[in-house]
Symmetry: C3
Subunit: 348 residues, 3 copies
C-alpha cells in the first residue's frame, strides 16, 4: 500500500497525562428519552413503581416518572471512559456520590471531570488517578456527581512520578446533604401498588435480606446495555481484547442487575440518592447467574413528607451465596461480584 | 455472621392461600410508551400495518397506532405472576379473553384478579386455581380481561382441601360481545400497504395456512422480552431454577412470535379482540426454531364499517411441521408448542 | 387431515416476474420514533454527537437530533425485501444513493421501487434485477433514494430471457447534487463535545484510518436489529434456511457496526448524505469480531456554512486486518466483510 496512513484515533490518556486540577470536558452529550426508559426495563428486572408508572410518581409528588437513577449514573459514567479509563487496569472505587436532580425523558446529559488526585504505584508502571465527575443536564444543572479512582498504565515508564496527592474522601455521604427531589412526598404512598408493605420503620440496622431470585447473564445483553450508555471500553465487546478471549461485563451492568433484583425485599427503596462506596470485587462473565443480598447499614430522617433515608449494602454474587463477603484472608470471596454502599429513599 | 437476618421477600402464594372471591390487587403499575412499541418490533417480526404506522391506523379511523394487542396482554399478565403463578407447576389454560380498549402510548396499565375457582388435585399436593384478571388503564377503564387457570403447589400438604369450585367457562367468546375499538373502520382499507390482498370473504372455515417462515430463538431475546413485561418467574431467567439447567421460554414469547409469523398469509388479521382458549403444549427452549400455521375456525360479522371477525387457531411448532396437532394417543405431538384460539378483525 | 389447505403466503418474486418499468409499492409503512432512536444506540456503538444530542443538533442549525441516517436506509431497505430479495441469491451492489431529508422521530416511512434493469445470467438459472428505491415520509417527501441490484432465481428455467437492460449508473454521486439538510451549519461547531479536533481540512485524499476497536457480534443482536427494520429474509433468522445451519448476518448490520466504529478517527463525519457504491464482500456470522478502517477518497465543498463533504471508503473486516482489500487474484480477501463508498458532511 502506498497510501498515506495517519493516526487520528484516540489512544486514551496514560498516567503521566493527568495532573491535579486538570478539567476534562467529556464528549458526546446524550439526549435520553422514552426509549432509554423502556430499554432499562428490558435489560433489568426493574420494578420499583416510581420508575415504572407516571401515575405512581405523581402520587409521590413528581410531575411524572423519572428515568431510573442508575440510567443517570451509567450515562454520566459512560462519557468519562474515553478520557479516564481507556487504559485503566482497574476501577478501584467510588465515593461521595450524590444524585442531585432527577433525569427526565428529554434531558440531555454531559459529563465533566476534575482530576483531584494522582499517586504513582511503587512498581513504577501504573498509578492511581482520582477524578470528581459531574453529570450536567441541558440547563447546566448538576444531576449527579461522584468521585471515582482508577489504576492507569504509564505510557513511558521513565516519566517522573508526580508529587502524590490523595484526596481526603468521606467514608459515607452525610445524610443531611442528600438531595431530595423537589416535591417528593411519600405521605400518600400506595404500598399495595408498590408491591410490599415494609416501611422505613420496619427495617433495622444490621438486618440482612436475601433477594432470592437469580438471573443468568448473556453476552448480547451486557453488550447492548454497555453500548446504550456509550461506554466504549474494549474489554466489554471484543473477544480479542483479553488474553483468555472472554468479554468482561461492565461493572455497572452488575450494579443495575443487583439493584433490580433487590426489589424483592426492598420494593420501597424507591430512589437512589447517595453512593458511599463501591467495589467490583471479582469479574463477571456471561453465563454467570447473578444473585443479590442487602444489609441495612444505617437509617436517617429527611425533611420531605413521609420520606426516610436508608443506607444499604448491596452485594451481588455469582450463584446463590448470601451473607458472607470476605474469606479468612480478609479478601472478597471469589463468588462476590459487587459490594456497593448507597443511600435510598423509602416511605416512613 | 452475627447480624440479624429477616425475611421480607415474597415467597408467593400456595394453593391453600386462595379462596373463591379473593381479590388480588397486583403491584407495580407500568406506563408504556414509544419505547415499548419499538421494542415489540425488535423482539418479534411484527408487521401488521395498523400497529406499524400512525398513518395506516388513521386510515382505519384510529387517532394513531395503538400498541400491539399482545403488549397489553403481556403487561397485564406479567403483573399477575408474583401473586398467581410464582409457585405454579403449570399454566393450564385461558378462556373468555377480550380486548376492550386499545392501549395507547402513554397509558399506564395495572392488573386486578379475582379468584373464581379452586379445586385440589387428587394427589393432595397441588390444586388448580382459576382467576379472572382485568387490565386497567390510568382512567380505570378495563383494557382487557381474561380467565386463566394454573396448577399451584400446596405449602402444607395437611391443609384441608377447599370445597371445589370450577367456573363454567365459555368455550368460545360470543362474537357479538367482541369490543370493536371506537372509530375503527376498514371501509378505506389499503390492501397494498397492508401487504396482502386477501380479505375476510376470501377465507373459508376449515382453511389452513402454513406461515412458512421460522425464527430460531435465543436466550438473550426471550429473557429481554419477559423482563420487559415485568414477568418475574424464575424459570425464565435462572439456569439454577430447573433441574436440567435450561431456561423455559415464557409462553407469551411463543404467542407473540407465532402471531408475528402469521403475517405471512394473515397480514389483514389486524387486531386481536378475543382469546377463546390456549394451551402451551410443550416447553420451548433457546435454540428451537419456531414455525407457525393457522386454521380458520369461524367467521362473524360486526357492526363496524368494513370490519369482519375471524376466529383462528394459531399453532406454533418446533421446526416446520404443519397441520397435525395431536398423536394417536390424543396428546399434543412433541413438536407442538402452542395451540391458541382467538378472534381477530379483518377487512371485509 | 381433511381440512382444506390453501396458499395465501407470499412466495416472493422470481426473475421472470420483473420487467423494466414495473413499479413496486412496498407494504407495511413504519412510524419511527424515540424508541428506534434509543435502540440504534443499544445495537451499535454509535456516538456521532449530532445523532446523540438534541442540543448538539440545535447548535448545528437543526430543530433537534434526527434519527441516524442509517435508520432511514435500513427501514427503507427492509420494506423492499419481500418484493425484491426474498428469492435473491446475492445482493450485488448499490449506486446513486442520496439522503434527501432527515428522518425525525414521528415520521412514517414507506418505500417504492422501480425496476430499471434486468439481465438474465448465461447459466439460464438466475438473472440480475436493478431497482431504484425511494423512501418516502408521511408528507410524500422522498427522504432517500438509491439503486440496488440483486441476483434472483428463475422460477421456471424455461421462461424466455428478457431483452437485457443494464442501467447506466454513476460511479460516484456528484457532490454538487448532495442534499444538505435545511438549516445545517457547522459555523458554531463544538469540536470538544463532538469528541475529536480533526476538521475537513485536516483530512487528505488517500489518508487511511484504522478505527482500532472491535465488536464481537452475537446472534441475538443481529436478529433483533434486522427485525427492527422489518427485514424478513429467512437466512437471517432460521437455522434451517442455509445448508450449514448458520444464520447470515444482514449486511446492513455490518454497515451500521462499521460506521459506528469509525467514530474513532472520524467523529466529525457527522451525517451520511451519499452512497456511491457498496459490496458485501464476504458473509458475516455470529462470533465474528468486526473491525473497521477508512480511506479518504475525495473531498468537496458545499454551500452550507462551515460544511464540507468528504468521500470515504469504509471497510469492515473480520478481525483486525487493516488496509488491504484484495488478494493477488483481484478478489476481496476473505477477512473483508464490507467495502462501502459514501459521502459524509464534516465541519470545515
Amino acid at each position: 500500500m502506498t497510501a498515506q496512513t495517519t493516526q487520528k484515533t484516540n489512544p486514551g490518556r496514560f498516567f503521566e497525562d493527568y495532573a491535579v486540577g486538570d478539567v476534562l470536558t467529556h464528549a458526546v452529550p446524550r439526549t435520553v428519552k422514552m426509549g432509554e426508559r423502556a430499554l432499562y426495563h428490558m435489560l433489568y428486572p426493574a420494578r420499583h413503581a416510581l420508575h415504572s408508572s407516571d401515575q405512581f410518581a405523581q402520587g409521590c409528588g413528581l410531575p411524572f416518572s423519572p428515568l431510573d437513577d442508575l440510567v443517570a449514573f451509567h450515562v454520566v459514567f459512560g462519557k468519562t471512559v474515553p478520557d479516564v479509563s481507556l487504559n485503566a487496569v482497574a476501577n478501584l472505587g467510588y465515593a461521595e456520590g450524590r444524585w442531585l436532580a432527577p433525569v427526565w425523558p428529554g434531558d440531555t446529559l454531559r459529563s465533566v471531570s476534575e482530576v483531584i488526585g494522582v499517586k504513582q504505584n511503587s512498581n513504577g508502571k501504573t498509578g492511581v488517578v482520582y477524578v470528581r465527575t459531574k453529570g450536567l443536564n441541558q440547563h447546566d444543572e448538576t444531576v449527579m456527581d461522584y468521585v471515582r479512582w482508577v489504576m492507569v498504565r504509564k505510557r513511558d515508564l521513565d516519566a517522573p512520578a508526580p508529587a502524590p496527592v490523595v484526596p481526603d474522601l468521606a467514608k459515607v455521604v452525610d445524610p443531611a446533604t442528600l438531595a431530595i427531589p423537589k416535591g417528593l412526598s411519600f405521605a400518600e404512598y400506595d404500598f399495595t401498588l408498590a408491591g410490599e408493605p415494609h416501611r422505613w420503620g420496619d427495617y433495622q440496622i444490621g438486618e440482612q435480606i436475601d433477594h432470592v431470585d437469580g438471573v443468568t447473564v448473556e453476552e448480547a445483553e451486557h453488550m447492548m446495555a454497555t453500548r446504550l450508555w456509550q461506554n466504549t471500553a474494549k474489554v466489554h465487546f471484543d473477544t480479542g481484547a483479553r488474553p483468555d478471549g472472554t468479554r468482561l461485563i461492565y461493572g455497572g451492568h452488575v450494579i443495575s442487575m443487583a439493584r433490580a433484583l433487590s426489589f424483592n425485599g426492598l420494593a420501597n427503596a424507591q430512589m437512589i440518592v447517595g453512593l458511599n462506596a463501591g467495589a467490583h470485587a471479582n469479574p463477571c462473565l456471561a453465563g454467570d447467574t447473578i444473585h443479590a443480598w442487602s444489609e441495612v447499614l444505617d437509617k436517617a430522617e429527611t425533611d420531605a413528607p413521609g420520606v426516610g433515608a436508608i443506607r444499604l449494602r448491596l452485594v451481588a454474587t455469582k450463584g446463590h451465596a448470601p451473607f458472607v463477603l470476605r474469606g479468612e484472608d480478609g479478601k472478597y470471596r471469589s463468588e462476590v461480584l459487587l459490594d456497593l454502599d448507597y443511600w435510598a429513599l423509602m416511605p416512613l
